[in-house]
């Protein structure tokens, strides 16, 4: 990969990371079984999924770009799907509630006024506890989480590969791997907090009304990633 392509790859990776936060369902009050979504804040959850993806992508760094991207995506998705299973088990047998989506039950999902789950057609309204906003992870949020983890894993692995290409001519291999891994993690952490400002603490994934705010996130992450990529490029190649 030439250096200039690597710079554009860093920008693309940053934007993908910003988008993935909108797809991954998360809410802080989920820990009290009072909201649908994984029971953590959106920015920290995406950071966790991204780190799992970058760790998984690192093993295949010398096999080419396509394998690195695929490994990152499947690593993040594996973490997401296991976390969702664990969250549903904890809700089902620890608190005694079944997964139900609060937004869909009140008819405010992005697909219209129906109170049924978008993918399986199961009715959500009779199953939520009164006074809460849903609990657990029904199937529509589950699919949204897997898609989000794929996008985030690809973004993180792309930044990792691009920075590694920029650094391998000037540093010895172990140093290049570690510094590239850390800068990949850093770009991930910077870009996962900007969407959290728009989401204000909770989201239900791609069937939530808040998905309409994605263009704002896209523009902000684009600007911030461009500035960072230009600075990294100038530090590595120009100076």
């Amino acid at each position: 990969m030439e250096p200039l392509t690597a710079m554009f790859a860093i920008i693309l990776g940053g934007v993908l990371v910003g988008i993935c936060v909108h797809f991954i369902p998360a809410s802080a009050t989920g820990a009290m079984s009072a909201a649908t979504g994984i029971a953590t804040g959106p920015s920290m959850l995406s950071a966790g999924a991204g780190m799992a993806g970058i760790l998984s992508a690192a093993y295949s760094m010398d096999s080419g770009l396509a394998v690195v991207l695929a490994s990152g995506a499947t690593g993040s998705a594996l973490m997401m799907v296991l976390t969702i299973l664990g969250g549903n088990i904890a809700n089902a047998f620890g608190t005694g509630v079944s997964p139900a989506s609060g937004q869909t039950a009140s008819g405010q999902s992005i697909l219209g006024k129906s109170t049924k789950d978008a993918i399986t057609g199961w009715d959500q309204k009779p199953y939520i506890s009164p006074g809460t906003d849903g609990h657990g992870m029904p199937v529509q949020t589950h699919i949204s989480g897997i898609i989000g983890a794929f996008i985030g894993g690809i973004g993180g692995a792309l930044v990792l590969f691009a920075v590694y290409t920029l650094l391998s001519p000037i540093l010895k291999p172990e140093a290049a791997f570690t510094i590239a891994g850390f800068i990949g993690a850093g770009v991930f952490l910077i870009n996962s907090v900007l969407p959290a400002y728009t989401l204000v603490g909770k989201t239900e994934g791609m069937f939530d009304q808040k998905i309409r705010r994605t263009p704002k996130t896209l523009v902000s992450c684009l600007i911030v990633s461009t500035v960072i990529a230009v600075l990294i490029y100038s530090a590595a190649v120009v100076i």
């Binding site: 029971a39 093993y59 799907v81 296991l82 664990g86 608190t95 005694g96």
Partner: protein, 293 residues
């Protein structure tokens, strides 16, 4: 042979790390359920819990793991001449001791400064509620840092991860914090803190803050929490984190399709786990039925 042995070892260490991490976050009330412990004095329930509000779980666990791993790596470079395996174990223990010291200091300062900001709600600072829970918290923290450091050493040396060992520990720390916060904290936040509310319902917004202040006999302390959540919440966290590390390393043992074999095996695993989750949802909907008032 070596990658398979490394896979088994990392799976075992990851399972243990999950148990200890969740118990540590419950021995001192941390992250999302801590908002309930923080809210309780505001509605009149003065309590005797250890209000350990350091930060969310991912950055905190990343700090304990990275400190232990960095000190361990620097010590291994000095002790390597004696014996490679023993030097790794002893350096990990010393590194985990340093990170436990940091955990203790941060925990004490957060409890004191949070209670000091509650003057208007008349919450008293009970010294024994801090000092009884602290040794339990420090022990679980030490075990978490130790297992995560040994896990990073195994991933770096036996499975040939190209990153340096403190960076692997940093990423594993963030991941285990995220998983512990998403799965184990539900058992603490929705069940243990609200035992006088019915089983089978989430906690409505109007009831939040109405936590248990009394225990089986007398007033409840943070020492009373881990023995309860260990039986379920810690096991779920351990299951998720252990399976993640084990399955991820296991997929690399296969070589039937060249470099793409691990990707294909992981996609198969994702599909199987997705189907299991859908079956679980159907089972709970059929068995529990709609909410009965």
């Amino acid at each position: 042979m070596l990658p398979l042995l490394g896979t088994i070892l990392t799976g075992l260490l990851a399972f243990l790390a999950g148990i200890f991490e969740d118990s540590e976050s419950n021995a001192g009330s941390a992250s999302n359920p801590n908002s309930q412990v923080q809210l309780a004095p505001q509605i009149g329930h003065r309590h005797r819990y250890f209000n350990k509000a350091i930060s969310g779980e991912p950055p905190a666990n990343a700090l304990w793991a990275t400190t232990a791993a960095t000190v361990a790596v620097l010590l291994v470079a000095k002790f390597e001449a004696f014996n490679p395996v023993y030097s790794v174990i002893i350096s990990s223990v010393i590194g985990a001791l340093v990170s436990t010291l940091l955990l203790g200091l941060y925990g004490i300062f957060s409890h004191i400064s949070r209670v000091a900001s509650m003057k208007t709600f008349k919450q008293t600072l009970y010294w024994d509620s801090l000092y009884s829970a602290l040794p339990l918290d420090l022990s679980f923290g030490f075990l978490t840092a130790l297992s995560l450091t040994l896990l990073s050493f195994t991933a770096g040396m036996m499975l040939n991860n190209p990153f340096s060992i403190p960076l692997i520990a940093f990423m594993l720390g963030i991941t285990i914090g995220t998983i512990g916060s998403s799965t184990g904290d539900i058992h603490y936040g929705a069940e243990r803190l609200y035992q006088h509310h019915i089983f089978g319902s989430g906690i409505p917004i109007s009831n939040q803050g109405d936590i248990d202040v009394k225990g089986e006999y007398g007033y409840r302390n943070s020492v009373d929490t881990p023995y309860f959540t260990l039986r379920f919440g810690a096991m779920v966290t351990a299951f998720v984190f252990g399976m993640l590390i084990f399955l991820d390393s296991l997929s690399r043992v296969f070589v039937f399709a060249g470099v793409w074999s691990s990707v294909i095996v992981e996609l198969g695993m994702i599909l199987i786990i997705f189907i299991v989750t859908v079956f679980l949802e159907k089972y709970t909907r059929d068995r529990y039925g709609p909410f009965v008032r």
